[in-house]
């Protein structure tokens, strides 16, 4: 149990977060869910996870993006890789996703994925980011 990597999932849609948790826990990981930025911050204060899956949290004004910047500035959290999820896709009519929206200052996340994610893809990305961290 203590060998398992811990992943924190932050998404204000609990139903959606649970499905991501199902995917994550099918791998050698344990997952916790936060459905608000406040809840996320509280949990992070108690325990630092090995990876964070973070929704853009559009309903609260793209708070996810703000959080990502906050985390990367925090010395305790900046090493924790972040996979950002968004439901703003070509299909949903927003031109948010241009090429690669990641930016070292404005969107400092390691991966940016559109919803819905395929389990295979998500698990592969988690594996890659966690092993990169091990070797660094």
């Amino acid at each position: 149990m203590t060998n398992e990597k811990k992943i924190l999932i932050v998404d204000d849609n609990l139903d959606y977060a649970e499905s991501i948790k199902t995917i994550v826990e099918s791998g050698p990981y344990s997952a916790d869910v936060a459905t608000s930025s406040k809840q996320a911050v509280d949990k992070l204060e108690k325990e630092i996870p090995d990876l964070i899956i973070l929704d853009v949290l559009l309903q609260k004004g793209a708070e996810g993006i703000v959080l990502s910047r906050k985390f990367k500035k925090d010395p305790k959290l900046k090493q924790v890789p972040i996979i950002m999820l968004t439901s703003m896709t070509k299909q949903t009519g927003f031109k948010f996703i241009s090429e690669d929206p990641r930016h070292p200052h404005f969107l400092p996340v390691e991966e940016f994925v559109e919803k819905p994610v395929t389990p295979k893809d998500l698990l592969a990305k988690i594996k890659k980011l966690l092993s990169a961290r091990e070797t660094s």
Partner: protein, 365 residues
């Protein structure tokens, strides 16, 4: 009964200011006065009255100038001019500068009341129409935000659940179930596309679009659109060609994004409803006042009786051949709305079994 309004009287004659003020205050209105145009304009800026009475003949800044300045400060303020005896010409001039009504001197209190009443009714209508417009706009924005969040969110969640199941994460999926789940996944995907199209349609308010208009050339827009549709065309072995009888394509005024969408929808249709190995030809023609863009295909064609309806929202021609073609039925409605926003029109000619030609007529700058 009568709603109190705020009225400003601008007249260099003290007796005029006093008598108007008395009559109107007695009727329950809030009245202020100004002895010349300058003071009057300052007061207008300060407290934005509902109605202004302006004497045309004043020393210093003239009544006409005051009128012009009022419409700059706030065009919704109703201005009534007080004219000299039988001076109809001035009244007409005043109307041209934005006055709503005129009151010839000398006038009785009742004549004043009638004019004021008319003017205030007009003011009420103006304000109501502005309020309705704003309400409509905020409802529209709310609708868009609500739809885009509340409808999409559970749909994306369902999609995600399907991905979890189809990914074998919660157990093996027997083939029969896998088939149905995959079809369910496609249905959700179509629904999301439909929502996007519907949102696009409601976003294209003809008034709003013109705000982002610039001078541009249609050629690169069409070329890029053709390029983005090449993969689709290749799937059915369809050749898309761009013909131009004239290298010098004149500019038009428009919004690049929506024009791309317009041509995307038309060329997409030309490819979708085509036969395997067919052709799509796009040509540009310049006339005296217009630029015509023709998009012709060698597709299944549209029957005469269906032609009047094809631009209607959600309309899909029902036939064996069109059944299998994917689409939301909104492509042409969106195209037409974009054209209208550009003061352009779309015409169509078609022969069943042979093909269709859609022509977009743009006005030259």
């Amino acid at each position: 009964m009568k709603e109190p309004a705020s009225i400003l009287v601008i007249d260099d004659e003290e007796s005029m200011r006093d008598s108007c003020s008395q009559v109107l205050t007695k009727d329950g209105h809030h009245v202020d006065t100004a002895e010349n145009g300058m003071v009057g304009l300052e007061k207008i800026k300060a407290f934005k009255p509902d109605l202004v009475l302006v004497d045309l003949k004043m020393p210093g800044i003239s009544g006409m100038e005051v009128l012009e300045k009022i419409s700059v400060i706030d065009p919704t303020i109703v201005a009534v001019v007080i004219t000299g005896y039988a001076n109809l010409e001035s009244a007409i001039d005043a109307f041209k500068r934005g006055a709503y009504d005129f009151l010839p001197k000398p006038f009785t209190p009742d004549e004043l009341r009638i004019i004021i009443k008319r003017g205030l009714e007009r003011r009420k209508l103006i304000l109501k129409s502005i309020a309705l417009e704003q309400e409509k706009e905020s409802m529209r924005k709310f609708f868009i935000t609500m739809v885009s969040h509340q409808l999409r969110s559970p749909l994306v969640t369902v999609q995600q659940h399907l991905e979890v199941i189809l990914g074998g994460i919660v157990g093996d999926v027997p083939e029969k179930q896998e088939k149905l789940l995959k079809r369910a996944r496609e249905s959700i995907s179509s629904l999301l596309t439909l929502i996007k199209d519907w949102l696009d349609l409601s976003k294209i308010e003809t008034g709003k679009l013109t705000e982002s208009f610039e001078s541009l050339s249609l050629l690169p827009i069409i070329e890029e659109t053709i390029e983005s549709l090449q993969p689709l065309a290749e799937e059915s072995n369809i050749t898309v060609t761009l013909d131009r009888d004239n290298m010098d394509i004149p500019m038009i005024k428009g919004d690049q994004q929506s024009l791309k969408q317009l041509f995307f929808n038309l060329i997409n249709n030309a490819i979708k409803f085509n036969r395997k190995g067919g052709q799509v030809t796009i040509s540009l023609h310049e006339r005296n006042s217009h630029i015509d863009i023709k998009i012709s295909d060698t597709g299944i064609g549209i029957a005469q009786e269906d032609l009047p309806f094809i631009f209607d929202e959600f309309h899909r021609v029902r036939s064996d051949e069109t059944q299998i073609v994917p689409g939301t039925g909104l492509g042409l409605s969106i195209a037409r709305k974009i054209a209208e926003a550009h003061s352009a029109s779309i015409s169509v000619e078609s022969k069943v079994g042979e093909g269709t030609v859609f022509t977009v007529h743009f006005q030259k700058i």
